[in-house]
């Protein structure tokens, strides 16, 4: 304890870091948000005042130490302030996904017994009013955007700025209390509670202490040499541990500026205007951007297109090597410089990546082509592997040791252990305190010595010492003939095709594998437009014979590549179906972080799975769907089932 507090320079909480930044970086920007078409800004000194006013307002409202305050909204300075203000008064902030349906919200608010909520707008206020009668402990709600709320009953409903105003007005009443509460915070007090969406079962509340957050922020900032001058764009869900670490942990540790987009739709424009130096995105964002670039280049003039393709081809050979500091001939360097002038530079500017020093992708595997594309442009994109229970960091790729198929070496202060079955365990200062009100799950996940089960299977690569992930340990199974079934491995190979959005592989305990496939509407839609294929709906496009032909080609190509791996050759896809609807978190088929929930999908589409195995070439089905406002409807469809060619591994070996 004494040792680690010394390591963090006596700064043992986020509010303590805020005090330091307000003195050290008083005039530097802490937050920017685009509002009314202009970037509004707050310096660290101003931020400290805003948070103080809010914290005083909280005390004035009756917030006690240990209370839970739910935070529900998109990335805005107000919500980051709310989290730090909550910590300052000894309360625990609980960020909640703002697109959660009422029932999900009810579960979380009831589970933690939140007495207060800071929410964005009328939509969220309505949601909570709907569930309020089931929440006996709930007391007050604070909203940021007043639109449409004027005539609501304001007995227990307050405007954000009013709470701050009341805080300022009662400064002398409460400032000593606030100081007292703030000074009590140490490494063992709770910093935040985050609910993990979980691919199975109810969400669990992960309690992270100040030690977890501050140590992780410190270690990771040092690992990547992050400085006060960094600029980040905060657009990922606030309820996700990654955003908490980047936008609060590291931002407060280093004192860099957090930029909030104007709205979700303007994110790409705002990204370009800010030009972050440190950037984090799930693979999906990089995929979408690459797809957009390629689509737009299809529409460009012939000369431009050829130049683009030529230099891109060249960058693939040289760009990555330059980035890794490997030897490159002078001629190639010069040509790369020319390419930078003509293609790479302008392209990076358009994407908003012109200034990136460190970029990370995580959460899902990224396609090697996509990964290499960005690296070849000179963008230092790396991979990391982590989870909420570890306060993000388990492994990360150091500069110069970046590859598409590994997730890097253990992060500073992280110990790794891999069991004989390949299950990955870790121990680090970031290891979570507990699952709130769930000692059984805590005990299942974390042992007495502090080792945590990731639930993933993987191995350490000989030579490089990098970790490679195979799949979720519980998803890895056995086929009927005893060979290994690792669905994610095959699914990812297919998802790397731009026209495939989602894949679900079945085959555990069966004699062969079959798959559900979701097309990517923007990529396939664009292809259809260029090929004069008319379609009226997602469903119609997904069932188009030529789309099915293309998908079949992809499946067969993947089968070929899967067959090359002797361990996994049994996972080739024998039959597949292109689904008539997009898998959706609102229907419970994906988690809020867009991970596939296998059991639920297998159960819900049981008739289709059976049809894939019983050899029929068509299946009529009816599926219930949930609209964004919570109403339900159903769609009917008749789906074609296709057979895909598989490579006979045994005979291939014999032939060679």
């Amino acid at each position: 304890m004494a040792q680690s507090s010394q390591a963090a320079g006596g700064l043992m909480s986020i509010p303590a870091l805020l005090q330091r930044n307000a003195t050290l970086f008083a005039d530097k920007d802490a937050y920017r948000e685009k509002e009314f078409g202009i970037w509004q800004r707050w310096t660290w000194a101003e931020t400290e005042k805003e948070i103080e006013a809010l914290a005083l307002g909280f005390i004035n409202l009756g917030v006690s130490e240990g209370d839970f305050i739910a935070i529900i909204g998109r990335n805005r300075p107000h919500f980051y302030w709310s989290m730090v203000a909550a910590q300052s008064v000894g309360a625990v902030p609980v960020p909640v996904y703002q697109d959660s349906a009422s029932e999900e919200m009810e579960y979380i608010l009831a589970h933690c017994g939140a007495k207060y909520a800071v929410v964005e707008d009328q939509e969220q206020v309505d949601k909570i009013i709907d569930i309020q009668e089931h929440l006996h402990q709930f007391e007050h709600m604070i909203y940021v955007d007043p639109r449409g709320l004027r005539k609501y009953d304001h007995h227990a409903l307050h405007r954000f700025t009013d709470i701050q105003e009341q805080g300022r007005a009662s400064y002398y009443e409460w400032i000593e209390d606030l100081k007292g509460r703030r000074e009590k915070l140490d490494y063992d007090s709770t910093c935040v509670m985050l609910y993990t969406s979980g691919t199975t079962g109810k969400p669990k509340g992960v309690v992270l202490s100040n030690r977890n957050v501050v140590e992780s922020a410190k270690n990771s900032s040092e690992f990547d040499n992050l400085r006060q001058e960094e600029e980040i764009l905060s657009y990922l869900p606030m309820a996700w541990v990654g955003d908490f670490i980047f936008s609060i942990g590291q931002a407060y540790w280093c004192g860099f500026c957090v930029n909030c987009p104007e709205s979700a739709e303007t994110m790409m424009t705002d990204l370009r205007e800010i030009g972050p130096t440190y950037f984090f995105a799930p693979p999906r964002v990089f995929e979408t951007q690459l797809t957009n670039v390629m689509i737009r280049m299809e529409d460009a003039g012939k000369f431009k297109r050829r130049m683009f393709l030529h230099f891109l081809e060249f960058a693939k050979k040289v760009g990555g090597r330059i980035l890794d500091g490997k030897p490159v001939s002078l001629g190639e360097r010069l040509k790369y410089g020319l390419g930078n002038l003509l293609v790479y530079g302008p392209l990076k500017d358009t994407l908003g990546y012109g200034r990136i020093r460190v970029g990370y992708t995580a959460g899902e595997a990224i396609g090697p082509e996509i990964f290499d594309f960005y690296r070849s442009l000179g963008i230092n994109l790396k991979q990391l592997y982590g989870q909420t229970e570890a306060t993000v960091f388990i492994t990360a790729q150091p500069d110069g040791e970046v590859r598409a198929d590994t997730v890097g070496v253990p992060s500073p202060d992280v110990e790794l252990r891999i069991t004989e079955e390949g299950r990955i365990y870790y121990r680090s200062p970031g290891v979570f305190v507990e699952y709130y009100k769930n000692p059984e799950s805590t005990a299942d996940t974390k042992d007495a010595e502090g080792w945590v089960d990731t639930g993933d299977a993987g191995f350490i690569e000989e030579g490089s010492g990098h970790l490679r992930i195979i799949d979720r340990a519980k998803d890895v199974g056995k086929m009927a003939d005893g060979s290994m079934f690792a669905p994610k491995y095959v699914e990812n190979k297919l998802k790397f095709y731009p026209d495939i959005l989602e894949v679900v592989l079945f085959g555990n305990g069966r004699d062969r594998c079959v798959a559900f496939i979701n097309i990517d509407l923007s990529a396939v839609g664009n292809w259809a437009e260029r090929n004069n294929i008319a379609y009226a709906s997602y469903q119609e496009l997904a069932g188009h014979p030529r789309v099915l032909d293309t998908i079949q080609e992809h499946v067969e190509a993947v089968n070929k590549s899967v067959a090359e791996d002797p361990m996994l050759s049994g996972c080739q896809i024998h039959r597949f179906v292109v689904l008539h609807k997009e898998l959706d978190a609102d229907d419970g088929e994906l988690t809020r972080t867009r991970k596939v929930r296998r059991a639920i999908i297998a159960d819900k589409f049981n008739d289709i799975v059976e049809a894939l195995y019983d050899g029929s070439d068509k299946i009529s089905t009816e599926t219930e769907v949930t609209y964004e406002d919570g109403r339900k409807g159903s769609i009917k469809a008749t789906l074609d089932i296709r057979d895909a060619k598989v490579v006979q591994v045994a005979s291939k070996v014999a032939a060679e």
Partner: protein, 273 residues
């Protein structure tokens, strides 16, 4: 309810509706021998959402054009804010604080959303040509003030992401919203909406309804709208005028109108003499 009294009243959802702000008295409008509107009288109160509905060709758009001053009726009087309104040019009507949107969208297709909405502020810009050209002093100050105002509306109607997009590239539903933004930019006291939901899908209609209610709530704007979609009108409006073949056949709250036999006949179809 339908008397000419000036008393304010409070609606079910707690909004206070003020006195009569505009009154149509015995309006008759003819195009040559065709009578588009025959002897229609009704009033619009401050802060209310007033709908004019009716089947195709009932004379709704003509009525709206009379209110906006585009048509001058042959008979009858238009009273606005307690005074009889003489025949006026449409821009003079605009200067009095009446703004409108159009059924077939009348935006500048080649200009960005922002520029289109800025044109709604034209009444608030007084700087001279020279000042505008030199971009100094008054012109600059005015533009900044007006831009700030326009940005508030852009924020309000949630069209930030298309701020710099040329209107011609936008889908229909968004164009309608941009048109509403431009009308709002004029800070009207009465807003006329000509079929704001025409050609929209259910989701777009829901969005538009919410925006109309929010505008009324937030800015206290009096809204007169023409609409085809009965369901939407009944949910939105405080009072409804029903027209058929140029005549007024009903006037009152949505529930009163819904139970009016003449209205039911007009909508369900009864042989006309």
């Amino acid at each position: 309810m339908n008397d000419m009294s000036n008393d304010s009243y409070v609606t079910e959802d707690g909004r206070t509706i003020g006195g009569v702000v505009m009154e149509m008295k015995n309006i008759t409008l003819r195009f040559g021998g065709v009578k588009a509107i025959t002897d229609i009288s009704f009033d619009i109160r401050e802060g209310e959402i007033r709908a004019i509905i009716g089947p195709n060709g009932a004379g709704k758009s003509s009525m709206l054009n009379v209110i906006s001053g585009f048509y001058v009726p042959q008979e009858g009087e238009v009273w606005y804010k307690g005074r009889k309104r003489p025949p006026m040019k449409p821009y003079e009507v605009a200067q009095q604080g009446i703004a409108r949107t159009f059924q077939n969208i009348a935006l500048f297709e080649g200009m960005t959303v922002l520029d289109n909405v800025m044109t709604g502020r034209i009444r608030q810009m007084q700087a001279g040509l020279l000042s505008q050209a030199l971009w100094r002093g008054k012109a600059e100050r005015e533009e900044i003030e007006n831009r700030a105002q326009v940005e508030k509306i852009i924020d309000f109607l949630e069209i930030q992401h298309i701020r710099k997009t040329p209107v011609g590239r936008l889908p229909y539903g968004l164009k309608k919203r941009v048109e509403l933004a431009r009308a709002l930019a004029a800070e009207p006291s009465i807003l006329l909406l000509d079929e704001p939901m025409a050609g929209m899908n259910v989701e777009e209609k829901e969005d538009m309804s919410r925006f109309i209610l929010d505008v009324n709530d937030e800015f206290g704007t009096t809204i007169a709208l023409i609409e085809h979609d009965m369901g939407v009108v009944m949910d939105l409006s405080d009072r409804v005028v029903v027209m058929d073949y140029g005549k007024k056949i009903g006037d009152g709250t949505p529930s009163e109108v819904r139970s009016n036999q003449a209205v039911i006949d007009a909508y369900l179809g009864v042989a006309h003499d």
